[in-house]
């Protein structure tokens, strides 16, 4: 058990290091923060001074080592725009992002899973075909198109809901819907195929032959087995609680982590970008780890060896 966890943690750390390294290199090679943050017509001496102050003239590997050394001290760097610690900037945006992604997750689970189960139980019925059609539409349409469409209809034409900003709970409705619809669609399709697979298994027939009523067989025998593959997708959705709203936050001018990331990348605000990426990688990796452990709980076959080793 310890060995298992240890290995997973080591892999998780490696993932995070790789993510940050990648960002490090790409950001530095693709633009000059000095020019982007100080406007292009600032005096050359100011730009040079900026570069010197932030160590941008040093060779890349030196900057890299300095950065990682600082992490071990707990210092994730400062924003080049206003000098504030990157961690602070990011932390103050997290509640805003969660205010969107948590309700969206609830929506994905609350709509997607029941829809998928219903479709599987009534295979080839009108309800099944309708759910599948809607699901395909839901995850094919890109989120920004969906968001803009919703804005067009509900904010511009009907005037029911505001189109941007974060003033009241009403401002959250459209972004949450945009986020939730795509995820619910994916989950519906996935749950449906997991359920169909399980419903066709011999142990379902055994349960019925035992005299278990159909509804109970579905609840007690089918669902627990269908949950196993479904957990993978849900885990992924939980892992993207922080990073999954980048596009939506931009479309709706929602002041969350995603929006901060977009601005920071545009400005090559290195420390902020790296800090966000570290955070996102950590969230995703933890979610995956939790899913792996959850598999062990849901599927007893993973916990102990099978009885026969046939030759």
């Amino acid at each position: 058990m310890l060995r298992f966890l240890g290995l997973r943690l080591a892999r998780a750390l490696l993932t995070m290091v790789l993510v940050v390294t990648f960002a490090f290199v790409v950001l530095r090679l693709s633009g000059d923060p000095a020019l982007l943050i100080m406007s292009a017509d600032a005096p050359p001496e100011a730009i040079a001074a900026f570069r010197q102050a932030w160590g941008l003239n040093d060779p890349i590997w030196q900057q890299y080592i300095r950065y990682f050394a600082a992490i071990f001290r707990g210092d994730l760097g400062q924003s080049m725009r206003d000098g504030r610690p990157a961690i602070e900037l990011v932390a103050e945006r997290i509640p805003a992002t969660l205010a969107l992604t948590l309700p969206a997750l609830a929506m994905k689970l609350g709509i997607g899973i029941p829809a998928g189960i219903h479709a599987a139980l009534h295979r080839n019925s009108f309800a099944d075909r309708a759910v599948m059609l809607l699901a395909v539409a839901g995850f094919t349409v890109p989120s920004f198109v969906l968001g803009l469409l919703l804005v067009l209809v509900f904010a511009v034409q009907l005037g029911w809901l505001p189109s941007g900003g974060q003033e009241s709970w009403r401002h959250a409705v459209l972004p949450v819907l945009t986020l939730g619809i795509g995820g619910a669609a994916v989950l519906a399709r996935f749950t449906r195929s997991a359920m169909l697979e399980v419903l066709g298994q011999p142990y379902m027939r055994t349960a019925l032959a035992k005299g278990v009523p159909w509804a109970r067989a579905v609840r007690r025998h089918a669902l627990p087995n269908a949950a196993i593959p479904t957990v993978t997708i849900v885990g992924f959705m939980v892992g993207s609680l922080l990073a999954g709203a980048v596009v939506v936050e931009s479309v709706f001018s929602w002041p969350g982590v995603g929006r901060l990331l977009v601005v920071a990348v545009a400005n090559r605000d290195l420390a902020v970008v790296q800090c966000i990426l570290l955070l996102v990688a950590a969230t995703m990796v933890s979610a995956n780890l939790a899913v792996d452990l959850l598999y062990g709980v849901l599927d007893p076959r993973l916990r102990s060896a099978p009885r026969e080793a046939t030759a």
């Binding site: 027939r205 055994t206 032959a209 102990s304 099978p306």
Partner: protein, 326 residues
Amino acid sequence: MPPLVEIAGLTATFDGVPALRGVDLSVGRGEAVALVGESGCGKSVTWLAALGLLPGKARVAGSVRLDGQEILNAPPATLDALRGGRVAMIFQDPASSLNPVHRIGRQITEALALHRGLRGAAAREEARRLLDRVGMPDSRRRLDAYPHELSGGQNQRVMIAMALAGSPELLVADEPTTALDVTIQAQILELLAEIRRDTGMALVLISHDLGVVAETCERVCVMYAGRIVEETAAADLFAAPAHPYAAGLLAALPPIDGPRRPLAAIPGGVPEPWAMPPGCPYAPRCPRRVAACDEAVPRLATVAPAHRAACIRPLPEGAARELLSA
């Protein structure tokens, strides 16, 4: 005394393709009947249809009476009470026929709760007693085991224990030993015989293995292409089969002793359900075929006392022996 189960004219169709074309079968109280045939003949479908276990898109018609009461297409509540209660069914691959995420104790107590109203500690104790009854060593610990932790033979014992939970009057065993090793097969068949002796339970044994059914059952029904083509006592079938298909099956078995020669294989294959020949479905492969065989499907007719065959030219008693030793 009316038979325990009486099936008459049972038909089953999937998307317009018939799988059962009129099956007549009866099982007496405490009797052991075998249903033998090759893949696709409908032997499993017959009992799945009788118990309402076929998927919804199947169209089932005919009559199935349990103790005189019609149960075909009965309302779900009736069937739920009946299945696992008066009539229990066990299946071929025990490893995949048990729910992998439930402990076996729970799977047995579920049946006990449904049919004997037992719960909690009483149910657990009864489940343990059932596991002992089916010869599972270390029954108390095994209650908490998962199916994948047990062997194929042990899983089949669990299935039998689950089936016995409702004290059934009839156990339908669908190829119960096919997926098991030969020595384990012997154990399971022995167990079924023992249970029958103790409880007087009737048994329907579905199998493709003629030898297995010969040792366990009193009466054998041979199926081909969705119909019963021969029905008689087990000893009579093996000594003097009347239907050419049954004779052909017996002749195709590799002999245990005697000179070695090419096996008397039946030529050709089973016709596809959507491409049935007119008249007798076995005619294209039958060495005794005549023109009249293609005209109409033969009905099951008596050829000897308690011996019926669906053939217009059944084998007379001596002839079969010739065929077998040819």
